[in-house]
Subunit: 161 residues, 4 copies
């Protein structure tokens, strides 16, 4: 069994640029995170263009879908921004693929103190191996199906509709 990880950016992967003082994207942190996790299952990492999910267009979501369709792995974890995670989940869910696809992300970037990134990735890598085929959002220690989830932006948490 191999696990596919698809990095698409989002808060999880943001990097502080010390020259302009902004949080932006550079190299993905995922190679370092995967090493740190000490996973011994084979992991195939695919790094798509890293985007703030508020900047994602339809074409970007179609690219994520194409990656899932092209993947031979039965378990896929997608690292994604939280703001439009639900929209991408809807695109993937409507495609009715025969894989277990789990979207996760972070409220605080991996490289910032007190980040939830590593916990969330671990959570997603676990349920991606144990849930039946389908598309899920895994955040806040909970699993949501793609058609029954929303981000409560005021509280900064995901919840069922």
């Amino acid at each position: 069994m191999t696990l596919r990880l698809i990095a698409t950016g989002g808060t999880f992967d943001k990097h502080y640029d010390e020259l302009n003082g902004k949080l932006d994207f550079a190299e993905s942190h995922l190679p370092q995170v995967i090493a740190r996790s000490r996973m011994t299952i084979p992991v195939a990492l695919e790094v798509l263009p890293l985007l703030d999910s508020l900047d994602m267009q339809d074409a970007d979501r179609q690219r994520v879908l194409a990656s899932c369709q092209a993947a031979r792995e039965k378990s896929i974890v997608i690292i994604h921004g939280t703001d439009t995670m639900r929209e991408t989940a809807t695109v993937l869910g409507s495609a009715q693929l025969d894989q277990t696809i789990v979207l996760t992300g972070a409220m605080i970037p991996y490289e910032i103190a007190n980040s939830d990134a590593l916990f969330n990735l671990g959570f997603a890598c676990g349920v991606a191996q144990t849930l039946p085929p389908g598309v899920y959002v895994a955040m806040n220690g909970k699993v949501f199906t793609w058609d029954n989830v929303t981000k409560n932006r005021a509280a900064g948490v995901f919840q069922a509709l």
Copy 2:
């Protein structure tokens, strides 16, 4: 659904004592870790005496078993030292409880750089909610059944027998 976390010590929870220069146990890091995870499922944390798992005696494993038997939750995660995780898993597995019990731990303490603790806890909290009743070890991004797991000490990883 509520998730029960049982802290028993192990590398995960070790603390550096700056007065004697040793890694030992003080307060459990679990309350801080749970807050950091931003879990919104109800979590019941039970902190048992924190031990290096090499120091665990039969009575200590029986205490872990008693905690599981007394728990009303269907999903339980046990944070445990890696060196005798298998032995405790055997005690719990033999008891044939009707709960999903997942043991996890860490190769590097939570408070030390590059720790796998947060990833492992997330992984365990995920599979504890999705696996059928039984006793499992969740380490290295893999799930093992209690009767088919061993720690390869030379490599520092868990593997099937």
Copy 3:
């Protein structure tokens, strides 16, 4: 001998706000940083309004000057944004106070991985106790006098004129 620390904000003290995804100011990190430093010299911490130094107005710099004038300590460290550190240093230097005043800051916020904040604060707390009265900028492991320093923004380092 007492050391006065004056927090004015800047990159050093920025905090990631997980609800809006921006780096902003909340409580100063200085109390936590001072505890972490294990300083046994008496430290008087004064937290002024925390500002991005690009947002500092004349009145803000006058407030920093007033704090120095009111201080009875001979050694003062000011934590300040890097972009207009030189401007504030000029206001303080022109006042010709009889104290050793050292401005420092950070290129990466204290709470972000690989931050130089703790090193810079240690450096500044050292030279503030050993330099003769005057106004200095302490960054990049160097001491600059207030009238001979500039930030090279392209390189992200301080240098003499």
Copy 4:
């Protein structure tokens, strides 16, 4: 002006060995720490055998002395274990060299949460450039002369005699 850093081990540089669960020495963290400090003064790093200072013998202290004597730099910072920092300072102080030599270390290893290592190194790098020739211990935000310092082990702090 060049700054010489001499790494001799001590708590500052200890590394957690995940295979045996002990704090020991591997590669020095100093190259990474120096990069993080963003120092622009030329730094010459010399890594001596890394030792717990309780294991230091006379020959080890003589080797540190020899390194100082061979150095052309006027400012030297020695990263050293705290338990026998005073003994090495005495060897160096008795040699009456014409350099500013500052010993520092840490109560918590660089790679463990809440470490004072980076602050202490910054502090030492500052005073090494500003103090007159002599041998000093720089810990707890204070400068001590080599012949008037002791470690209070019960409190974990350095103090004058």
